[in-house]
Amino acid sequence: MTRLFRVATFLALKSIVRGNIGIILLTIFMLVLVTMNLLFVPGLISGATVSMNTILVKTYSGDIIIEPEGDKTVINHAGDLVQSIESIDGVVAASARNNVNAYVTFEDERVNCVVIGIDPAQERAVFDVADSLIEGRYLDSRDRGEILLGVQIAGADLEDIELYSSSLRHVHAGDKVVVTYSNGIEKQYTVKGIFDTGFIQTDVQAFVTDLEFNSVMPNMNNKASSIRVKLEEGVDPDSIIDRVAGMRDGLAFQTWDETAGLVESMTESFTLINQILNVVNYLIAGITVFIVTYVDVINRRRQIGIQRAIGIKSHSITISYLIRALFYAVVGLIIGILAFKYLIIPVEARHPFEFPFGPAYLTTKPVYTARMAFILLVVSLVAAFIPVWRVMRIKILDAIWG
């Protein structure tokens, strides 16, 4: 067995060192492209997913959502609970929210949306919506008669936003809009600011201060529809949930990823696209190695016949071709991975792909890279084996003299 491999390695080495350098470089170049392609799509999807998850957490859900359990609709003594939660190690901040359905009207346009009553200071500590204002200013705790609108409600004359046709279209900061709450109260508000987080589920929301909210929903004083919690980085949400659950009964908990239905379905679609592209890429890699090996063994059929005639075992010759295929694949993989990591990723980081929900930065995951490398090696070996195996079945004399 050692002899088989020793001779195979010898033949492969000589063939690589003294073979046609142009063909060798071209084959490696093809495999470099395949490798980078195999890394690019999942890297982009991974980057986009991270970007989506980040924006989801920072503008919509927070790390943990606490809601009343079962048939209950509100959390009582919300202020006390928020204070207790904020005292837990690992919690950055918590914000109590009250939601109510309402219509917002401006001129002839009317939009159905959720109006959320918030403590602006708490919200700033938990969410980044305040950093996403495209017009006006964020709410202050003592604001009354003022409202903050998501861009998908206001429209703001931005015709290229997703829901422009169903928005109020022309609302800008300083304009007056009328809000009709689900309890029948109708009130005029001045639009204090318009935000555009890039996350559509956030941008269809409207915010008023809890002071304002309690004036139209007086029975909601010191109550909350939900409490959103921001955690320090790396803190396990489940440990915090256990602590909060121990403080009070009647609460239901969700982590941010359990609310990420939309993101999840997008990720699943991306993953499916990625898998299809990967199959195509592996096929391209396999066909490249197959063609190179096939042309090579056809050109060297006589040489292979001579090798067999002088006593070189077929297994040795076959293994020598597999070693060559392995060489192409390994060099292609190494160059491809290095080029992706140290060339493509830094360049993309300077000029990131812009998605509706923000920039997506390419990433690589070691587990995925290792699996991709393994599959590519196997594909290359199989692709090289087929033409060699076919030539090995030809009689020696036919191989030498045709």
Binding site: T2, F10, K14, S15, I310, G311, I312
Partner: protein, 224 residues
């Protein structure tokens, strides 16, 4: 001892069958030097390829040292070729990507006998065939005669008991031909290697102690 019993090789060309070898029988003793002669198409090379285990006869047997080798598996035949037989092709048949030295020691690597330094032995064999100063040259850098002598050295690397040479001088000029044939004769006389070679040149009879003459696939003469 090489024994050939009722050897036949029939090539099928559709409904037409060509009897390349027809009921051939002979014996060759160890250490002999035998020339297979005949006109073009008489079956000389076909016979040598059967003897060298590069092809399988349609019927009949080849017996090497009492063992019937015609029915052996491909793998067993490859091992036998590697260990006991050397083959010199008409067209040199060297591997283009290997130097003369590498061409010679490659079969030795495959055999891999412990304690045998095949690289050194290959060098000695190349010196033996007069190419001691050309060991690092590639086949394309050697003349036809030199390439053929490299092929002979290669055939000797595993110390074979029998060397088969298929018209080794067919593509060579007179001087090169003489050198190649003298090399084979020396091997036969000094190393006691059995040499069986094919030639269409009547002059080559002088190098042989035995003669097998073929015509249309039939053996019409055996002797010296």
């Amino acid at each position: 001892m090489v024994e050939v019993r009722n050897l036949a090789k029939i090539y099928g060309l559709g409904e037409v069958q060509v009897r390349a070898l027809d009921d051939i029988s002979f014996n060759i003793a160890d250490g002999d030097m035998v020339c297979i002669m005949g006109k073009s198409g008489s079956g000389k090379s076909t016979l040598l390829r059967q003897l060298g285990l590069l092809d399988r006869p349609t019927s009949g047997d080849i017996i090497l040292d009492g063992e019937v080798v015609t029915k052996l598996s491909d793998d067993a035949r490859a091992t036998l070729r590697l260990q006991h037989l050397g083959y010199v092709f008409q067209e040199y048949a060297l591997l283009a990507e290997l130097t003369a030295h590498e061409n010679v020691y490659l079969p030795g690597m495959m055999l891999g006998d412990k304690g045998v330094d095949f690289k050194r032995r290959a060098k000695e064999l190349l010196e033996l065939v007069g190419l001691g100063k050309r060991i690092k040259h590639y086949p394309k850098e050697l003349s036809g005669g030199e390439q053929q002598r490299v092929a002979i050295a290669r055939a000797l690397i595993n110390s074979p008991r029998i060397i088969f040479a298929d018209e080794p001088c067919a593509n060579l000029d007179t001087i090169s031909s003489k050198k190649v044939m003298e090399t084979l004769v020396n091997l036969n006389q000094e190393m006691k290697v059995t040499v069986i070679f094919v030639s269409h040149d009547p002059d080559d009879k002088k190098y042989a102690r035995g003669l097998i003459f073929l015509s249309d696939g039939k053996m019409i003469k055996e002797g010296s």
